[in-house]
């Protein structure tokens, strides 16, 4: 083949590769996840195994301390929850109500994804529809909400951390007096949350903890989302926005729980 013919062939090859890239980009999130999962389970498997092992060894003592603290706090909450559960069942029996469909949690290791120079915005979970995970559904740790599962295949799910620009969660205060929508934002150059749509007449004091409201059936109610820091903007006579310190930052996450929603009749 002469130089011009070879040059044209290379141009065509490149054009085909670019077109293939565009096609992959246009695939559904589940199909993209299938492809990513296939690459991670084959070509990238040794590299990811080395990375995981190195990360595990380097943070072993920190993880141990954190697990012990989480275990202690969970044990306390479990005792309190058992009592509340028994009382709830007794009240429902007295009122003649049926039992609520049970929901459950799936514990899973979070594998964050990130480009160099970029931020933690997405993550992979090695559980999927076969384990009862149905996207979209909430992902959280003992300390609070970390994000949402956006796409699932049989044995893998892809999620977005709260830092993702598309992330939104409906929240309320513990008293239920104020509510709003939390999204990702910035506070002094650091990633933080912003509470939008809080009522104008109600002041939310700094230090107030925000919890998931459970509206929309995307997240279980009562999961801590963050703590209010200060007012960030006021829409005169209409609504207020607040800066919120997140309950959990993506870099602090290793093990999380995925909410397996109860099946509705």
């Amino acid at each position: 083949m002469d130089g011009t013919g070879r040059g044209r062939g290379e141009l065509v090859t490149t054009a085909l590769l670019v077109a293939l890239g565009v096609v992959i980009e246009m695939l559904s999130p589940s199909a993209q996840l299938e492809l990513a999962y296939a690459l991670r389970s084959t070509v990238l498997r040794p590299v990811l195994a080395v990375q995981r092992e190195a990360a595990r060894r380097s943070s072993l003592s920190v993880r141990l301390g954190r697990f012990e603290a989480e275990r202690d706090s969970l044990a306390r909450e479990l005792v309190a929850a058992r009592e509340a559960e028994q009382q709830n069942a007794w009240m429902r029996t007295l009122l003649g109500l049926g039992m609520r469909p049970a929901d459950s949690l799936v514990a899973v290791e979070v594998e964050p994804g990130r480009v160099p120079g970029g931020q933690d915005q997405t993550f992979l979970l090695r559980v999927g529809t076969a384990e009862g995970i149905a996207a979209p559904t909430g992902v959280f740790t003992v300390r609070g909400l970390i994000g949402v599962v956006r796409a699932s295949t049989a044995h893998a799910s892809q999620g977005q951390f709260w830092t993702h620009p598309d992330f939104r969660v409906s929240v309320r205060t513990a008293s239920g007096q104020a509510s709003g929508i939390v999204r990702a934002g910035e506070d002094g150059g650091q990633r933080a949350m912003i509470l939008d749509g809080a009522p104008y007449q109600t002041d939310i004091a700094p230090g107030t903890v925000l919890y998931t409201s459970g509206i929309g059936d995307l997240y279980p109610p009562g999961i801590p989302v963050g703590t209010v820091r200060a007012v960030s903007a006021v829409e005169s006579g209409w609504e207020k926005s607040y800066r919120v310190e997140p309950a959990v930052r993506p870099e602090q996450v290793d093990i999380a729980f995925v909410w397996r929603k109860p099946s509705r009749p």
């Binding site: 590769l17 565009v22 120079g117």
Partner: protein
């Protein structure tokens, strides 16, 4: 200009193997050291370095293939913009190899400038593709600093595998 230089690079036998191994080392190091590299504010972009190194030593079509494969793997690890990264790196590999054929000069400054500009542009393109738009410090401090470190590594690797007359 292209006619004077292209034959010299095309005639290398052992050098071509050395170049192929170097590209593999760059890409493998990128994925192995990734957790470390992404946590540093300024770190070498070994993936961009590997693709540009391939474009220095291979035909444009081959460089595009290397870029496509590297982009696909990067997208699978980053869990973002897999197709966009593959397309961007394929275009970068082809474009860089073509520009090398068109502009490669004897000037000792050409190679560092070529790699520096390439890494800087690629870094920003990758970040834009994944939707993590960098602030002004990202554009004028972190990306150029990362490009400088990568340039040093690529130039050193190029000196090591390219036979000198």
């Amino acid at each position: 200009m292209a006619e004077a230089v292209a034959p010299v690079r095309a005639e290398r036998g052992p050098g071509e193997w050395g170049a192929a191994v170097t590209v593999v080392v760059f890409v493998a190091a990128h994925f192995l050291l990734r957790p470390l590299l992404v946590s540093w504010t300024v770190a070498p972009d070994l993936l961009a370095g590997g693709v540009l190194f391939a474009s220095l030593h291979a035909r444009p079509g081959t460089a595009a293939g290397v870029g496509f494969a590297a982009g696909l793997l990067e997208g699978a690890v980053a869990l973002e913009a897999m197709g966009a990264l593959a397309a961007i790196l394929a275009l970068a590999g082809y474009g860089a190899a073509r520009s090398r054929e068109l502009f490669f000069a004897d000037s000792p400054l050409f190679l560092p400038v070529y790699v520096f500009v390439g890494v800087w542009a690629l870094r920003l393109a990758e970040q834009l593709a994944t939707g993590s738009v960098p602030g002004w410090t990202g554009w004028v401090l972190e990306a150029p600093a990362s490009a400088i470190i990568t340039t040093v590594l690529v130039v050193v690797a190029d000196r090591a595998v390219t036979p000198r007359p």
